[in-house]
Symmetry: C2
Subunit: 338 residues, 2 copies
């Protein structure tokens, strides 16, 4: 094997992205320097944050450069090693990008992590026991900080982050109510993920209507909210928040295409003395160890069984990504590469 | 003297309040029970929060009951006492309401506080060294928590809360930029209060224009913001906030008349990992002692010389209050009652 396949960012999308924004190329296999490891990727993670990186504007992360390999989390196995702590065959996670192979400088802290696949399938290290899981953990533990018996809500509840939020909150004795798009996702959230209720936002034409449904599902109001989406769900939840509630803001997917979505009633921040806080999980490296430990136990014990939507083959990555942005996946969206 | 005069809330305003929403009545002088003190009010404080209390809707405080004396902070002197710790002639502050006299149960913690008028004029205990000053202190110290050299902004900068925010922030070595309505207020903010700059929001037709002016006044961005107003100022500031900035939300005056004012770009909460937190000063009683100590020193030493706008006579209270809601006052709005 001497060829690597890659997807590059070919152009910056105006509004909704399309397959033509990506370019499929072949590239020679990387040659290793001392300290580097060649990883053969088994799975590529697709995540909403990638949409933000495709833009050129000011954001929390530098834009994805044009004509370079699309960024992305990967799991796989060591194919060659010039680092003493990694041997051929080791299972690892890294930010390998949208390609079949990558060379990783294993001396960079956090760049290459070994993963234990004895109790947890390797793909989960891109979801429940990976970045999305840690994202849920940080928002829940560091921002919302709930008490047993409190009611929490989460938007995009069936996704990788939302499902982990639900599992972590249930483990803390909370009532958890999800918001998701469509009956199938809502059924998955309540019947498989064990949420106490799930509201289909697609059954509501405006946030006031959605808010009424939330009132029924949350008879004691809402004490904390984890926001993955922005827009209608956030506006609806805000009307039901109890005094001193916190909102962890993790995603504003609906705004990524360049249309700002206003917050309908910001005065509620004052009226209910809310704390609304945005965060990016990569800026909290100290949270990874405790989060992954708890999430690994929840998955390993079978308490938390998140589904995955797996596209086959690297060639399918752009289409799968566009589907993710439209909410077509159920659970974590992956691309299987071998 | 056997008659007390009072303003009652006669009806709940629909939209903008008017003088007809208040009723002027005479009432017999209170007779005291054991533990009570009769206070003759010297000054009545007028504050934006009173507008919120006039509504019947859900808010952080119970609505002002109809046909009862309008709520309000007062300073004055003890006219009669049936409490061992208060003597006739003592200067005191309390929530006496829109009336000339009130009977206070001095055994209720915090209901009646003695004030030291040797270095600080009594009226300032309703402003800089009173509730508005403590409000600024809490938002600055407990939410924004600035470091020397950082840039802070505050809306309604010429008001009682805004001016105290500026004095406290300057004392901590911050660059402070105010936002106020009109040239006269802006001149007061920079020339008398010592802010580094002040921007007249009335010179701007939209928040994007105001935001450009903020960019000039805040060349290193904004690290913390104290929001007294809501609406255009908040939207403009948010575009200039640095990563990890905090917003203390103290007032949303523009929304009190029942028209919600959307937040234009809530996705900035995520992009810049902001913390946006609402608070009500009365829920933080532990802050009063350290805040009043610092504010008393700033005023007593002459470092902080806030202006007051003083209406004469209780009869003028409704008109003065309506003027306050329209921003006609410069500095703390008071009504002098003797």
């Amino acid at each position: 094997m001497t060829t690597n396949h890659q997807w590059l960012l070919a152009r910056r999308p105006k509004g909704e992205p399309s397959v033509e924004d990506f370019a499929w190329v072949s590239a020679p296999m990387p040659t290793l320097s001392d300290g580097q490891v060649l990883v053969r990727h088994h799975y590529l993670s697709l995540d909403p944050y990638m949409r933000g990186r495709m833009n050129d504007g000011k954001s929390y992360a530098a834009p994805q450069p044009l004509d370079s390999v699309m960024i992305g989390g990967t799991v796989g196995e060591v194919a060659q090693s010039r680092h003493s702590q990694f041997a051929v065959g080791d299972k690892v996670m890294s930010m390998g990008g949208w390609q079949l192979f990558s060379a990783v400088d294993a001396n960079v802290p956090g760049a290459l992590r070994s993963v234990d696949t004895s109790h947890v399938p390797i793909s989960h290290y891109l979801g429940a026991v990976g970045m999305p899981g840690v994202t849920a953990w940080h928002g829940l533990v560091r921002i919302i900080d709930p008490k047993a018996g409190q009611t929490l809500t989460v938007s995009a509840a069936s996704g990788a982050v939302g499902s982990a939020l639900g599992a972590l909150a249930k483990a803390r004795g909370c009532r958890v109510v999800g918001i998701a798009g469509g009956e199938e996702k809502c059924n998955y959230v309540t019947q498989e993920l064990g949420f106490d209720a799930c509201i289909d936002y697609k059954a509501h034409t405006d946030y006031l209507s959605l808010s009424k449904a939330l009132k029924q599902a949350c008879p004691h109001g809402i004490d904390g909210h984890f926001e993955n989406a922005g827009g209608m769900a956030l506006d609806a939840v805000m009307l039901r928040l109890n005094p001193f509630a916190s909102i962890a803001v993790c995603g504003m997917i609906a705004g990524y295409n360049g249309h700002p979505i206003p917050m309908a009633n910001p005065s509620l921040i004052l009226v209910n003395r809310l704390k609304v806080q945005g965060f990016i999980v990569s800026e909290h490296p100290d949270d990874w160890a405790p989060a992954l430990k708890e999430l690994g136990q929840l998955v390993g014990s079978g308490q938390f069984r998140p589904r995955e939507t797996v596209a086959q083959g690297l060639a399918s990555a752009p289409q799968a990504f566009l589907g993710l942005l439209k909410g077509k996946n159920l659970g974590k969206q992956l691309v299987q590469l071998i």
